[in-house]
Symmetry: C2
Subunit: 343 residues, 2 copies
């Protein structure tokens, strides 16, 4: 490709946002992508060079700014890599702002992976504003966005007939970043787990979205969804780089959802994220013609994979027709701006 | 979906074409697709009802016709399922004919999976005529089209960095249709294998296309391709429903290709198709960040899967922008017009 690099801004500089910015910077020497701005409202970050926040030796020349509109207007990026929140209702105006500036959005917002169910009105408005301004808005990541939805759809591509689908993801949270270990409740008691569960905001965000994305992708009418969330208990002490889980404490979550059509279970997604997980994997089992048993051995390492999906989706939104999209609408995901044999 | 069924014609009624027509007929009661014509020039087929050729109890009402132009004009299908030849140069005018009638083409032609290398001039012309008439032309199937290319691209979607890719497909030809067993040389001698190899038309068609599709999808510049074709020899007698291979005879092929960038091997595709194959599988191994080891356990059953990919690609071409496309340009493959829990 001899075309000009794709100009992107990093919108949101939490742990995933910082790693996404780092990945873009690492790809700049391919000439395919260029980071032209960084946005965050955290007063501890605003005004600092991105290199300082990333622990780089040299400054990047990109200063963190709080005024998103100003950055988008001045820097004229093609795409915003958006990583500010899991929840649409608290931040969808940020997406509207990007669209109004003619900037495509690739967002890690879990609810955006399939927004039509929980937030039909926001979805309608986002689609409208995206079409009006000729941009694409899409939510992606490893999960939701790939491991438990897009990969499952892909697995059915070679089937003339699909009767049921079972998706399993087993993640060893012990190898992931601290916020994720805390998110799954590693080290808390069974009672504390039950209390957190009562809040309704505990567990993995996006399982419902993944199930509905698969069902929509297949054109399956779903008349019920049943979700369960239980603790995975440690049966021996487990030590991670960040914390220790004692035997009898919570090691993580077992979060599952089953989708029903005509009263029968047709689609199930089963997610276990816990420290000390045995046999981590991503698997899709299709009961169909032919049957498919697709396994990513060892599983997909989530922190890196979410960053990868965000960056790799950048060229895909440039090819798509304008509007609010989901992963089923974009061309097959694939690595972008890599160099064979480069270290 | 409450939209009208997608009207398709079956263009070519060899073994794959007949099974594709059968699959479309089986899906008609979903209301998403409708077979409206069947084209073949074989005098043994012309004039017969498709139901007779498929061994159905009742006639389908669709008579095989030899005049493709006439069928396309009269029946006005949206998409032609095209299964006449592996080679572009002998039949690309059939694709031009479809395009001129405003009919999208989903073709099993192996060389069409990535036509830009072997047939740049035909590819240019097909793209031009497709754009002019607002249609999509795409080549797909299980291999090329999925197992050794699109699935490999998909595997890299979660990687920030990809250094090398190795794709392996092991097929037990003993479970496949007779023409495939004959195609891989099952039961011939090593000498006969060497003679066939001299003809230059022996071996799997599409390995080069798959390698170049992956490289193009990743934006990797490839400066050399090295292909090898060797016999897999039977070390014991193997009996299939159609033939017996004796110990010491050829059981099938081992066909491999390696792609080089800057003089280094960066991408390899390794295909073994032989009767009595141990441990059939489809696998993609990505050396990258994170590393990915994606395995379809038992492999993807090819005869059904090629039919599935053809039919499942029908709705994808309707969504795409006009032109000559490859699988990297279409939305993620997935099953179409299936009904959960239907037998």
């Amino acid at each position: 490709m001899s075309t000009a690099p794709i100009r992107v801004v990093q919108y949101g500089l939490g742990p995933i946002g910082l790693e996404t910015a780092r990945a873009v910077l690492a790809k700049q020497d391919t000439g395919h992508i260029e980071l032209v701005g960084a946005i965050d409202i955290d007063p501890n970050k605003v005004g600092k060079d991105l290199g300082e926040l990333l622990g780089l030796e040299a400054p990047t020349g990109i200063t963190v700014e709080a005024d998103a509109e100003c950055v988008l207007q001045e820097r004229k990026p093609a795409v915003a890599l958006h990583t500010t929140s899991s929840f649409l209702s608290t931040m969808y105006e940020q997406l509207v702002l990007c669209a109004r500036q003619g900037v495509h959005v690739v967002s890690s917002t879990e609810e955006l992976a399939y927004p039509y169910d929980r937030h039909p009105e926001i979805a309608r408005r986002l689609d409208e504003v995206a079409r009006e301004h000729g941009v694409v808005i899409v939510g992606t990541g490893v999960n939701p966005g790939y491991a438990m939805d897009t990969l499952a759809l892909m697995a059915t591509g070679v089937c003339t007939d699909v009767r049921t689908i079972r998706v399993e993801r087993v993640v060893d949270a012990g190898g992931r970043r601290l916020p994720l270990q805390q998110k799954v409740g590693a080290g808390i008691t069974a009672e504390a787990f039950a209390e957190r569960k009562q809040t309704g905001t505990f567990g993995h965000i996006g399982l419902r979205e993944s199930a509905l994305l698969i069902a929509d992708g297949l054109g399956w009418p779903i008349d019920d969804l049943q979700e369960t969330l239980e603790p995975m208990m440690a049966d021996e002490d487990v030590k991670t780089p960040f914390l220790t889980v004692r035997a009898g404490q919570v090691a993580g979550i077992h979060h599952a959802i089953t989708a029903y059509a005509d009263g029968q279970a047709v689609l199930s997604l089963d997610l276990k994220m816990y420290v000390g997980a045995k046999d981590p994997k991503d698997a899709v089992y299709v009961e169909g013609t032919p049957p498919i048993s697709l396994v990513v051995e060892g599983g997909i390492f989530g922190d890196t994979a979410t960053v990868a999906m965000l960056v790799n989706t950048v060229p895909r939104v440039l090819e798509a027709t304008p509007g609010l999209k989901t992963m089923k609408d974009l061309a097959v995901p694939r690595a972008f701006a890599t160099r064979p044999l480069a270290s």
